[in-house]
């Protein structure tokens, strides 16, 4: 695998909470342009891995190399700046802002107007505001909720909120989009629509890291899958191989019956 094909390398990332080892020296490599699945039973450390990657937690040891550069730990806005965007397992939208305003906040990182621009409303600021609005509209279109643009985020349906979170994440122009259980609580139709959306995002050049419980979705969507159990990576391969791995079967179904 040549250097420029690798987007993210995790090296021996470890994190513990008190005596609980949430992550135990997890290493993995994500290639550009793939959809990479991260699965595992509840409490396996998937979300903890996400939080370390995006700077919300500080890992005790190990590090991440993203796009050739080492990520600063404990700095969420910097992770976003180098091109890692994420969604949250328990949706975290700005509930009392409209859908389009949520996406406009996502543009914050790639725009520049400061206080003086805001107060003077000079032509540069007005142009930038118009561009922010236009881009936000495009993204709402892209995820298919443009007709809800002026509704408050908290009034959107569950599926639409998930989509809005993805639109907000895409507004930061990420290289890697990390989705934390995007299909949780969705019905079959919604899940299928989500699958198409994620495939589309990947086709448009954004690498996707996906945590998911819906095994069918992961197996259909991901090029490669890693399995975490008790904070350790027990397996990493193409879905067909992972599915048959005895350690994975054991992790999910419990130890073999004697």
């Amino acid at each position: 695998m040549s250097e420029h094909q690798v987007l993210l390398e995790a090296h021996d990332v470890a994190k513990h909470f008190g005596g609980v080892k949430a992550l135990h020296d997890v290493s993995l490599t994500i290639r550009r342009g793939e959809i990479y699945g991260l699965i595992g039973p509840n409490g396996a450390g998937k979300t903890t891995f996400f939080n370390c990657l995006t700077g919300l937690y500080k890992n005790e040891s190990g590090h991440f190399i993203f796009d050739g550069l080492r990520l600063a730990a404990d700095a969420p806005h910097k992770a976003a700046e180098v091109g890692i965007a994420r969604t949250f397992q328990n949706i975290r939208l700005f509930g009392n802002m409209t859908a389009i305003e949520n996406v406009m906040v996502g543009r914050h990182l790639r725009t520049h107007a400061g206080v003086f621009g805001a107060i003077s409303r000079n032509s540069a600021t007005r142009t930038e505001e118009a561009a922010i609005t236009r881009r936000a509209e495009e993204l709402l279109h892209y995820v298919g909720i443009h007709e809800r643009a002026h509704d408050y985020a908290k009034h959107l349906s569950y599926g639409d909120q998930r989509r809005l979170e993805i639109a907000r994440a895409l507004a930061t122009e990420p290289k890697l989009l990390a989705l934390d259980e995007p299909a949780a609580g969705m019905n079959g139709t919604e899940t299928e629509a989500l699958r198409l959306l994620v495939e589309g995002i990947c086709r448009d050049g954004v690498t996707v890291l996906l945590i998911e419980h819906d095994v069918k979705l992961v197996m259909g969507l991901c090029g490669r899958v890693a399995v975490l159990d008790y904070g350790e990576k027990i397996c990493e391969d193409v879905p067909a191989v992972v599915q048959k791995d005895p350690r994975v079967v054991e992790a999910y179904l419990g130890g073999s019956v004697a």
């Binding site: 700005f94 802002m97 505001e129």
Partner: protein, 358 residues
């Protein structure tokens, strides 16, 4: 999205409303003068508090940071003016040098206060800012030894009024055939400043920075994940709010001609915060209403309660000063009970509160 842009530019019917407001603002100092210059001074203070409350609104209303030490920045502005335009040090700089200087120094203090409190929220932030407000006041009280900087509790007197060339704001002069008194001149200066800060508030609200403040208020973790540098954006809110406090302090100094640490007590911080909360946090018309009501009502009580008691009972039963605090407290309790989002809240704040009540 055009609704936002349209909202900020006045439409046809808005012009009439603006014209009406303008006429009322123009008439106020002359109508008030019929009852004596004291009433003009009350109107001046009402507008000064509008200015202060709108400055605090940036910190509390927009960024959602509970600041109980706002009066510290007001004090910094007031003392900068007092020290640089009085016989105390024998320095007499013009106001257009001192006011920006006061704003800048207050801004610096805002950042100084802001930086150690960045990880704090809610109650904890309130306690730290409260402490900061007290520290400044105590410093002003005790900085008369070993070198006499602030003249301690006696305060600084004979502060220069604002003066443009020969045109002094302290004296009565005839403008276009109308006699305009000192307080009336300050009134128009204050109105101009208030209009300026209203425009700044409105424009900040609908901007990239305003959205970032709102995002932090809604969900700080999500805001960080969106790439917002929450540290800088919060400091910006503190700095902005503080510099407006500094400007207000300078004008206060010039208008009064006298400052002492007594004017910058904790009660003052709480009153300004009460104006913001009672009027409607984050909603500009609400904050203005809160500031005007909380300045005018106690004064009206002060002047009205004595004759009223004389008429009803033939003598004074309750001291007007203590009754003032009683009514003030009662008003706060009633408003918070029946209109928890403030007297005139923004539709958004109403939603937030409805949500937390669920």
């Amino acid at each position: 999205m055009n609704t936002r842009i349209r909202k900020s530019g006045p439409g046809r019917q808005h012009w009439w409303a603006l014209l009406l407001i303008g006429a009322v603002l123009l008439a106020v100092p002359f109508v008030a003068a019929l009852g004596g210059q004291a009433w003009v001074r009350i109107a001046n203070f009402a507008i000064l508090y509008v200015f202060l409350a709108l400055g605090l609104n940036i910190v509390v209303g927009y960024a959602g940071l509970l600041d109980l030490g706002y009066v510290a920045f007001y004090a910094v502005g007031a003392y900068v003016y007092a020290l640089l335009a009085s016989p105390h040090f024998g320095i007499h700089l013009p106001f257009w040098v001192i006011l920006p200087l006061g704003a800048a120094l207050a801004c610096l203090f805002g950042v100084l206060l802001g930086s150690p409190t960045l990880k704090l929220r809610g109650d904890y932030l309130a306690i730290v800012t409260l402490g900061f407000g007290e520290i400044i006041r105590i410093f002003l009280n005790n900085l008369n030894a070993p070198i006499n900087v602030t003249n301690g509790a006696q305060g600084i007197t004979l502060i220069d009024p604002i003066r443009i060339g020969d045109f002094s704001f302290a004296q009565t002069s005839i403008i276009l055939g109308v006699s305009v008194s000192g307080p009336q001149k300050y009134y128009f200066l204050l109105v101009a400043l208030a209009i300026m800060i209203i425009i700044i508030n409105v424009r900040l609200q609908d901007s990239r920075v305003g959205r970032a403040w709102q995002a932090i208020r809604e969900d700080e973790v999500a805001a960080k994940a969106c790439g917002i540098n929450t540290r800088n954006i919060k400091l910006l809110a503190f700095a902005m709010g503080a510099s407006f406090g500094g400007v207000a302090g300078g004008v206060f100094s010039a208008m009064q001609g006298f400052v002492s640490p007594e004017s910058f007590s904790l009660m003052e911080s709480i009153t300004i915060l009460a104006m913001v909360v009672l009027g409607g946090m984050g909603h500009i018309p609400g904050v203005i209403l809160g500031a005007v009501l909380l300045t005018a009502l106690p004064e009206a009580l002060r002047y009205g309660i004595q004759p009223l008691q004389q008429a009803l009972f033939g003598r004074m039963i309750v001291d007007p000063e203590s009754l003032r605090m009683l009514v003030f407290g009662l008003a706060l309790v009633l408003v918070m009970r029946f209109r928890p989002a403030g007297l005139w809240p923004s539709s958004q704040r109403r939603r937030e509160l409805a949500e937390s009540a669920d």
